[in-house]
Symmetry: C2
Amino acid sequence: MSTDPTPPGFELPLRLLLAFRTIIDELHERIAREGHPDLRPMHGFVFQAIGPHGTTAVELGRRLGVSKQAAGKTIEGLEQLGYVARGSDPADARRKVVRLTDRGVDCLARSARIFDELRAEWSATLGEEQLRRLEDGLRQLAPGDPFRLDTPRWFGTP
Amino acid sequence: MSTDPTPPGFELPLRLLLAFRTIIDELHERIAREGHPDLRPMHGFVFQAIGPHGTTAVELGRRLGVSKQAAGKTIEGLEQLGYVARGSDPADARRKVVRLTDRGVDCLARSARIFDELRAEWSATLGEEQLRRLEDGLRQLAPGDPFRLDTPRWFGTP
DNA sequence: ACGGATGGACAACCTCGTTGACTATATGGA
DNA sequence: TCCATATAGTCAACGAGGTTGTCCATCCGT
């Protein structure tokens, strides 16, 4: 009886990234076929950061880890794509509230459904028990809120 | 006896990304303390793409999934940081071969050692058996060569 | 009522990617 | 041999998206 050699340490992180990419690419392929071909991987993060109640450019920048000006540009782009709309706040004339449009909400709902479908497919591939062990292991390796919203900017320059 | 509810489908990809970020951030924190404070997450990919025998700007761009001009700019930056050096190819006067310097090789060796150290720490946290099951599961979810070198560009715009 | 804090917008700049055009060199076929 | 084509590298212009600095309108506590 022999023991498998220990895998090199760099394999796990690369597999983590590859698995993430695989999932996100598959998500965007499907959501593009369902009428949202303009979305980029980072847009899902932005939609989550905007949230169901809307937000402002300053708050969005804080959540995404970018300046308020950068958040403003992102909002402008999503506005032109029809995913968000800006309105005024009657209680504070300075604030301009950004909310998801029906199209944005539709996109978010489809994303959630497709993610669930993908998980069901992985469950069928690995077995539900092994998938849960994998999720449990990841929770121990990387505890805390998985919604780190400053990820899009994390690559790139200092 | 009750069954835990199925986690939402979006948790797994977010945990995959969070775990990857955690590992890479830890790597760069340690390698910065060991004399390489200028490195960015993407530089490890570039070093791997250059490889032990050196390469050219065109080939590097092909491996990284960017244009030869972008690869050239990246090489220029790493050259100024002292991690790579350019030489000429006696067999083909058009080619300029990019090779890792001693400093680049040192960095690559330290990365490999730190990755192994980190894996040993995760093994102590999760238990070697569970860590292997996690790696096995990821290999099934994301099979194939984990060295997808076009990742740095993968976020960002079309 | 006023002075500081806050939200938003505009401008200038930086980094890093792109495409297009150009030069120098290899290479293969008439 | 000679020429057409393909390839390696570089330069220039541009765009996306981030940064900081500045300014103005609006709130809010004293």
